[in-house]
Symmetry: C2
Subunit: 432 residues, 2 copies
């Protein structure tokens, strides 16, 4: 037998990040009856009305009537390989135009296996050498720092501010990187209700980020997963919709607004890339990389999402609103339950007050680590995510992230009661 040890595998596998995600999944698997504030997954009730067959047929009819394919040829599309760039690029571009005012040509769109693959492809294309660094708002979604680690890219954290990105700090990091012989090549932001921080960038800050990107010569990777949860009439334009200078690579997913099981996301990359043979869109190069990662996104999944887009008149606005209502109700419910149950514990317990998204952070006077999580699950039947999982350094060690997205109001109430018992017994009056 060969002796294989972890230190002989790629360094990303020894990173505490991957280990802690694995451990979290393991804990959740061991306590299936616990109430879980851990997963940021869409609410299960929102998928039960997805009629796969009828959406698929709707997409096939579209291929026949709008694209001139024969019935046989259209049907075969589901079963064959397809172009790496995707099959529903035009429908996605149209929805982005209608729903977000983005002036996007379908050639700039690549359909990906969720937003995760879009992140990997964008990082791989943009980061060309050892001098290139990714900046992220810290704390940040583990998928982006994980993808960077898989590719061996250095990651620099910019502390999250109430307005999302502290532009002064980012400017300083850009200059410090240059002095070290590095360059910040891209900055990842989730401008609307970041996961897990919950911050939202005001319009002014968005414009400032684009100006800074221009001045300091970096690209902005914009992740739009939670924008749809904004209250009506409180939407702020996406960075891509403000992007006159082609500084933004926009990443999105249908996991939240449609459903995760399709594994369909997208990236908009309308930057022109000069080469000896002429210029091509960055999207073209992302599709070329995709052919080495997953070849193409499942036509079955694309057909269902395509059918949903068509069935809703080419816009996801109405579908989004219906789902956003549920998430806002849940977030409000969680916030009230926390205030009701934990209010008396103030000033030992603090929480943030996001206006959208799926998450509330709770700061406790103890190390919110995997050991404490294990106790919480085993003795109190309630699960949460240690915030340290989302931080690049040592920060977040006394914070937990609570997700409201996967639970009913009744489960939220019961979960918060359990959480309160847990905090009272284990954190505020710890056993000796």
């Amino acid at each position: 037998m060969p002796s294989l040890s972890l230190d002989q595998l790629h360094a990303s596998l020894s990173d505490p990040l991957l280990g802690s995600i694995g451990f979290l999944n393991e804990v959740m698997g061991r306590y299936p009856d616990a109430i879980s504030f851990a997963p940021g997954a869409p609410h299960p009730s929102l998928s039960s009305d997805v009629d796969i067959a009828s959406y698929t047929e709707r997409f096939i009819a579209h291929l026949v009537h709008d694209r001139g394919l024969t019935e046989t040829r259209a049907r075969r599309t589901l079963f064959e390989y397809g172009p790496s760039r995707g099959l529903i690029n035009d429908l996605v571009a149209e929805a982005l135009r209608r729903d977000h005012g983005m002036d996007v040509h379908s050639d700039s769109v690549v359909i990906t296996v969720g937003a995760q693959e879009a992140m990997l492809l964008s990082l791989r294309a943009l980061c060309a050498g050892p001098q290139d660094v990714l900046a992220v708002v810290d704390p940040c979604f583990a998928g982006i720092s994980g993808a960077a680690r898989l590719l061996g890219l250095p990651v620099i954290g910019i502390d999250e501010s109430p307005s999302g990105v502290d532009l002064d700090a980012l400017r300083q990091k850009c200059r410090a990187a240059r002095h070290r012989g590095q360059r910040i090549r891209a900055c990842y932001v989730a401008p609307d209700f970041s996961n897990p921080g919950g911050s939202r960038m005001p319009l002014e800050n968005r414009r400032g980020l684009l100006e800074l990107a221009e001045r300091e010569d970096f690209y902005v990777l914009e992740d739009n997963a939670y924008g749809f949860t904004a209250p009506i009439a409180a939407e702020i334009p996406q960075l891509k919709a403000l992007d006159d200078g082609q500084r933004v690579v926009h990443i999105g997913t249908f996991a939240k607004v449609c459903f995760p099981g399709a594994r369909v996301g997208y990236v908009v990359a309308d930057q022109q890339v000069q080469a000896a043979g002429g210029q091509r869109l960055l999207a073209h190069h992302l599709a070329a990389l995709k052919s080495m990662v997953t070849v193409n996104t499942s036509p079955l999944g694309q057909a269902v999402i395509g059918g949903m887009l068509l069935e809703h008149g080419g816009s996801l606005a109405e579908l989004s609103r219906r789902k956003a209502d549920l998430y806002r109700r849940n977030l409000t419910h969680l916030a009230h339950a926390l205030d009701r149950e934990l209010g008396a514990m103030h000033p030992h317990i603090h929480r943030n007050r996001p206006e959208g998204g799926f998450f509330i952070r709770v700061r406790i006077p103890a190390r919110a680590d995997m050991n404490l999580l294990e106790t919480s699950a085993a003795k109190y039947g309630v699960l949460w995510t240690p915030m340290s999982q989302f931080h690049l350094g040592e920060a977040g060690d006394s914070e937990m992230r609570l997700s409201c997205s996967y639970l009913t109001p009744e489960e939220i109430d019961e979960g918060v009661r359990r959480l309160t018992r847990f905090l009272k017994s284990e954190v505020l009056r710890p056993h000796r």
Copy 2:
């Protein structure tokens, strides 16, 4: 506008490999009416009998009856995220046991977005540092060398021999690498009817490769895409079925035997990896990496493939045989047509004589490059693939790869007639 040029993007995007694949797709797109010997895609008639809805229902019934899920919970599985490692691992392990005599536990299996993702994950896990090198049989499938380039891994070619891998050459390359301070960490082989070479490893050579892997301390990445096309009673055990020393990481796909549009493949990695916290299977670590690439493989696709496996009694042997019959018929038909039409051109034109797989190579007395392909398509209406696309170096510049998989016998006859006219006019009596 930022000025972005190709040399500022990752080096893999400037690699001629990616460029030529892109160009090939472009040429095919421009000549939709040409007869194409280019795509190694499964025959379209083989997918027309796939009843997605009924296979999906079959899988849901399995979740209810065999795994004890409620009907609601089972149905939700299709729509939600799922474990990174997959949903149908047990069914795949069972099929590998039945059909290939592989003693595989489901915990060793990770379900991937096609074989391509399995290659990327395996390379990423095994190649830990700049000293680690991938060896491939040259020529080889562009997906493996492309994945290595995306990850920045050096690739060494071992010239293909009639018995697949020249073990002496591989041994020498291992030692030469060691002398340079490198190590060959893995060797990629397709033991049955390699794409594009067409070679097949005899049993003796397979055993020899495993012994060499043990002696020189490398892993074997086995790609099993075309094994099913072997004539009945002429099967040779897969490397993984002979792998007493856990040297083989086995990669497979359902694209050929089921259908490509599901985008479902798998990797078997039963190696134990030692770490401070105890030992885990390599498959566990591949799943952790997968969470940073695609998160999980679409449950929709997995459900259809799972249903197909269940519906066929847990074995793909019968389905494979039916498809293998068609491909062998096509391969024989192509071989006869070539001999009939091109026979008189001997000794200027040579072809190889594979016993299975999708491909025949034809050597011509001219540069079989993109310019010649363009002429072939524009003036003669026939497409093929330049073999140079599959070589690491300059080799293969006067060979074309012809695929028989996507055509009917009538199309093959007409295609070979066009090819003959093209060769007579442009290659054997070229215009001056």
